[in-house]
């Protein structure tokens, strides 16, 4: 066996499809020829992906069953992955528009004259006044409010 023939047999040797006699010839050649032996070792670095029939089980990501859910395709035309990706794409497109609309609405709210002044609100018998008043023990974003006005307390001490 010459070097050319030996290198041509690398893939079949890796896939264990080489006939016994040919395999023995290859191994003999590799023992004698350091150049081909080196080439085989270089070949072995990418062969696990390029030429192996199977891949070892990964302990990091255990296998999960996979099925082609034709019911979902038939019903909606959007199977799970495509559905998820299309939702993400749609959100990516729509979110900036929503944010801009919200900003515009806030700006418009503050720019427009109020329908009711603060004096009107506290003077009149209006439910919005009730909504705007908080008991001192209520929490504000999850934090307990102080029962007393600390600033007033400090001033009185002075």
């Amino acid at each position: 066996m010459n070097c050319f023939e030996a290198r041509n047999d690398f893939v079949a040797f890796w896939q264990k499809t080489l006939a016994a006699e040919r395999r023995a010839q290859l191994l003999t050649h590799l023992r004698r020829c350091t150049t081909c032996d080196h080439s085989f070792r270089m070949f072995a670095l990418t062969a696990p992906v390029l030429y192996s029939a199977t891949e070892p089980d990964s302990r990091l990501s255990p296998a999960r069953p996979i099925g082609f859910d034709t019911d979902r395709i038939g019903a909606s035309g959007n199977p799970p992955i495509a559905e998820h990706r299309s939702i993400v794409r749609t959100l990516n497109r729509v979110l900036p528009a929503i944010a801009m609309a919200a900003a515009a609405a806030i700006a418009l709210y503050f720019a427009a004259p109020p329908h009711m002044t603060f004096e009107d609100a506290i003077a009149g018998d209006n439910s919005s006044v009730e909504l705007a008043s908080y008991p001192s023990t209520d929490s504000f974003f999850g934090q307990e409010l102080m029962a007393q006005d600390s600033t007033a307390q400090d001033l009185s001490d002075e």
Binding site: F13, W14, K16, L26, L27, L30, D37, H38, F40, R41, M42, F43, A44, L45, T46, A47, P48, V49, L50, Y51, S52, A53, T54, E55, P56, D57, S58, R59, S61, A63, R64, I66, G67, F68, T70, D71, I73, G74, P79, P80, I81, A82
Partner: protein, 212 residues
């Protein structure tokens, strides 16, 4: 036929030819496509594994490929093998994913450690027979191979996998990718040259470590 036992019925369904299932899909029976998908799922996942090591991603890409195949089923021509048509879809799904990802810089390839370094040590010291046996059991052998292949440009990697792993001709690769045959040849040449260079540098690094 009506009196077939469930076992025999399953067998008779399992050996139904692709043409029959394809005709059923064309007439609106989506269940027939599910059968086609389960028939080719292993082949599809195997092809995806040539590009990506992440199992979850491989399954997602396989699923995506079947979805595209189902959506574009009207483009399938009966005169071509179903597997060939499906392979072209899978290849393009994987190509899209490769292009989305950033290529690993070539300089980082030789800079590895841990289990992958141990694997290089084994490749350097074991006999060829032992290397083949060890590679079947060692995940790090696959991870290192993926790292090496990650250094290729997406176009080069496509050619490398389709030519080397799938055993396709230059003409077939050109047909799948929509490229000229000259481009496929150039890409294949570049890919092989870079792989040799990377493998050389890894083994050289291994020898340098031993000398140290």
């Amino acid at each position: 036929m009506a009196a077939l036992s469930p076992k025999l019925r399953t067998w008779s369904e399992a050996v139904r030819p692709d043409d029959e299932l394809i005709a059923e899909v064309r007439s609106g029976h989506t269940a027939a496509f599910a059968e086609l998908a389960s028939r080719y799922r292993d082949r599809v996942e195997r092809l995806c594994q040539r590009f990506f090591s992440d199992r979850e991603l491989v399954r997602d890409l396989a699923q995506e490929s079947f979805i595209r195949a189902f959506a574009g089923f009207s483009t399938y021509r009966a005169e071509m093998p179903f597997l060939g048509w499906l392979r072209a879809i899978v290849a393009n799904v994987c190509y899209d994913e490769l292009r989305r990802r950033r290529r690993r810089p070539e300089e980082l390839i030789a800079d590895f450690s841990g289990p992958e370094a141990n694997w290089v040590q084994l490749v350097d010291h074991l006999t060829p027979e032992q290397i083949v046996e060890a590679a079947e059991e060692r995940r790090e052998a696959h991870i290192l191979a993926h790292r090496l292949l990650d250094s290729l440009r997406p176009e080069d990697r496509m050619v490398m996998v389709l030519r080397e792993s799938e055993g396709l001709s230059v003409e077939e690769v050109a047909g799948i990718m929509g490229w000229s045959e000259a481009k496929v040849k150039i890409r294949a040449f570049r890919a092989r040259r870079l792989m040799r260079k990377q493998a050389e540098s890894i083994l050289f690094e291994q020898h340098r470590r031993i000398v140290k």
